[in-house]
């Protein structure tokens, strides 16, 4: 099984440690991982801003970079969702279809493709899970509070098997944090308010570390936590799963 590692642009530049944890984690799980170094971005920031047409070059490059792999795995639900859902702007060649079908968010890949939920990690902290919207409602990584389906959660399945980790329950299980890509600057006031409210929920429930499968949401929450000097850390779920004491 050859896996192409997709590291979203902002993780590459701003959070290399998340990329490193993802790579190490996959390797620990016995996966043969390749990192195509000429990757840039999935095009999502443009698409969500209305400039989908200008992102075609980026989308095409994505396909070129990843067409030869059995699976494409990335530590970001929203980027993977963009590939799966919005690459319909490209001509649907067999390569494009293959890439779209084989793109997986990291947790989903571990649970669904590798069939593992206990990966021997340990992390003795009180953790709050931020269920990022595109992963949750887009990729259906878990059941959504609005829908009357049976409960399931890919990330919870993984976190519940981490030794010492206490998963804290939140008052609002899956409300958006307000990042939303360029929304975070063009609707700054609401974005900030949504983020503050999310953080308060975690504070109210004794959370020490906020985690999630989308670091863009965590970047937004971290920006608020650091500015307001609040006693919570953020960590990508790959960092927690890659942690063993």
């Amino acid at each position: 099984m050859k896996v192409g590692l997709f590291i979203p642009c902002y993780i590459n530049q701003l959070y290399p440690k998340v990329g490193i944890a993802t790579l190490e984690l996959l390797e620990k799980l016995g996966v043969e991982v390749y990192y195509p170094s000429s990757q840039t971005c999935c095009g999502q920031p443009l698409g969500n801003s209305g400039y989908e047409d200008d992102s075609k070059g980026a989308c095409q490059l994505f396909v070129e970079n990843f067409k030869e792999y059995d699976y494409i795995v990335g530590p970001s639900g929203s980027c993977i969702y963009h590939v799966k859902h919005h690459f319909d702007i490209l001509e649907q060649t067999p390569e494009v279809i293959r890439v779209r079908n084989n793109a997986y968010e990291l947790c989903e890949f571990i649970v669904k493709v590798l069939g593992k939920t206990d990966i021997g990690a340990s992390f003795p902290y009180k953790v709050g899970l931020h269920k990022s919207c595109h992963g949750l409602r887009g990729l259906k990584l878990g059941s959504c509070s609005e829908r009357m389906d049976a409960h399931y959660s890919t990330e919870e399945d993984l976190l519940n098997n981490v030794k010492g980790l206490e998963l804290m329950s939140l008052n609002r299980k899956d409300e958006c944090c307000g990042f939303g890509g360029t929304f975070s600057v063009f609707e700054e006031a609401i974005s900030v308010k949504m983020g503050k409210d999310r953080i308060q929920d975690h504070l109210d429930n004794g959370v020490e570390v906020i985690t999630g499968a989308d670091h863009s949401c965590l970047m937004h929450l971290e920006g608020l936590l650091n500015r307001n000097k609040q006693p919570i850390r953020v960590m990508h779920i790959a960092e927690i799963l890659n942690n063993s004491l």
């Binding site: 290399p16 170094s37 209305g50 200008d54 919207c133 409602r137 959504c144 937004h220 608020l224």
Partner: protein, 455 residues
């Protein structure tokens, strides 16, 4: 003013934002509990969505079937292609009857058509009889929510309004007292009414009747007391069969307020002896929306307001920030179809979280339509120059890995070494209330290359 500008103003009072958010979240939770109590809720949504799709594909036939059956029942049917025509038709009916005092129950269509100011300009008195509608009417404001029109007002604010307009005593916002005073006042209006105007929740093609849902019974009070009843409906309000009410009424009340059934689901089929019943069927841009393949399903909306209650942006920006008859997520996909330039900021007033599509009882893919409107808006509406250049250039760079990486590196260098006052300037909206990420020496790409070298 754009949505974000209005939302920024609304957010100056954080306590009020918290209150507004909690009030609507409470309704969302009531909806969740009510939906959980029905087995097969998701299947019910599927069926409703399918029926509405069928209606939109056969709208002409169903409308004609409805008209024929309504006429058989003795109802007079009128057709209006625009808001102006709608208003003129209603005025003509009222003028012929010499009606001066009009009571109106909730109808978003008459809001859309600006019927009240039109009739008032002709010297008629129109009183909104839904309590929430009445509050916003005396406050001279549009409704901020389609089901809870005065949800932006606290009870203390209502107290002050009533003191001014109804001469009530200061009560510190006692809901019981204020409601009783409104009832007393409205009761006289009902008794004096020459005509009653209502909206329509569902128009049933196979019977020619229609159903109006209210929690206060005000539609019934108006329609039964006045000699003339005029019901106004958009062309999309049709359902094929009376049996389908069993699906839609169950979904509507639970989605809207979490009630198992609306307090009054009033079926109007035929005028009372000696009375008149009219229906005005209005297009006003709906057929144009129907012709837009990507957006036609927005016409399936049954106006429950669930998308507003669940929307984290709506809850924190208030309905008036949308500056449209229908606010919130559903309004943000309907309004651009009416006036793309005026409403061009609305599809961007969303994080595309998708919660709206999940609560929608007729499964409108609202967040996907928001995304689609964005693509059209940047092409058809003039965009801020800088924003446009930045995004277009980014797109160009993203297809060029070497340049893209080089630029990423320089940006990181800037973030690391530029003085704080430069990074956190007025131009940096991110940094107003948030720190930027701390950047390191290496990006992942460089780390990976080093690792390869050392293997």
């Amino acid at each position: 003013m754009s949505h974000s500008e209005k939302a920024t103003i609304f957010n100056k009072n954080e306590a009020k934002v918290n209150w507004h958010d909690k009030a609507l979240w409470y309704v969302r939770e009531k909806r969740d509990n009510a939906a959980h109590k029905i087995k097969g809720w998701e299947e019910l949504r599927n069926v409703a969505s399918g029926i509405k799709a069928n209606v939109l594909s056969n709208l002409d036939n169903y409308l004609m079937e409805f008209e024929a059956n309504a006429q058989k029942n003795g109802i007079k049917v009128h057709w209006a292609s625009s808001a102006e025509e709608h208003n003129k038709i209603i005025y003509k009916i009222l003028a012929e009857k010499g009606a001066k005092n009009i009571v109106k129950s909730k109808s978003m269509l008459t809001e859309e058509c600006h019927l009240n100011p039109f009739l008032e300009s002709k010297g008629l008195e129109v009183v909104d009889t839904d309590l929430g509608e009445y509050i916003v009417q005396i406050a001279q404001e549009p409704p901020s929510h389609i089901v809870l029109p005065a949800i932006h007002k606290t009870k203390e604010e209502v107290d002050e309004l009533f003191q001014e307009h109804l001469g009530t005593k200061p009560s510190g916002g006692d809901p019981q007292y204020l409601t009783n005073e409104a009832r007393k006042h409205l009761r006289n209006k009902f008794l004096q009414a020459d005509a009653a105007i209502t909206g329509v929740n569902f128009a049933v093609a196979d019977t020619g009747g229609f159903v109006v849902c209210t929690n206060e019974g005000n539609a019934d009070m108006g329609a039964h007391l006045a000699p003339v009843h005029i019901a106004c409906m958009g062309i999309e309000k049709i359902i094929p069969k009376e049996a389908h009410l069993g699906i839609f009424l169950r979904l509507l009340a639970r989605s809207a307020t979490g009630q198992p059934i609306t307090t009054y689901s009033s079926h109007f089929n035929t005028p009372a002896p000696g009375a008149e019943m009219h229906i005005v069927i209005v297009d006003n841009g709906r057929t144009e929306q129907l012709s837009r393949e990507d957006f036609r399903s927005s016409l399936s909306c049954i106006r429950c307001g669930a998308c507003m209650n669940t929307c984290p942006i709506y809850r924190r920006s208030g309905g008036h920030s949308y500056d449209a008859t229908i606010p919130g997520p559903i309004g943000s996909i309907l309004s651009p179809g009416k006036d793309l330039t005026k409403h061009s900021s609305l599809p961007f007033a969303s994080t595309l979280c998708g919660s709206c599509s999940n609560v929608c009882p007729v499964k409108i893919n609202i967040h996907e339509q928001l995304y689609k409107w964005r693509q059209l808006i940047v092409k058809d509406v003039k965009q801020p120059f800088v924003k446009k250049v930045i995004l277009k250039t980014t797109g160009w760079l993203m297809a060029r890995p070497k340049l893209f990486n080089l630029l990423g590196g320089s940006a990181r260098f800037m973030l690391k070494h530029a003085p704080r006052f430069m990074v956190y300037s007025k131009l940096n909206a991110w940094g107003k209330e948030r720190e930027l990420p701390e950047v390191g020496k290496q990006n992942f790409n460089e780390w990976y290359k080093n690792r390869k070298k050392n293997e």
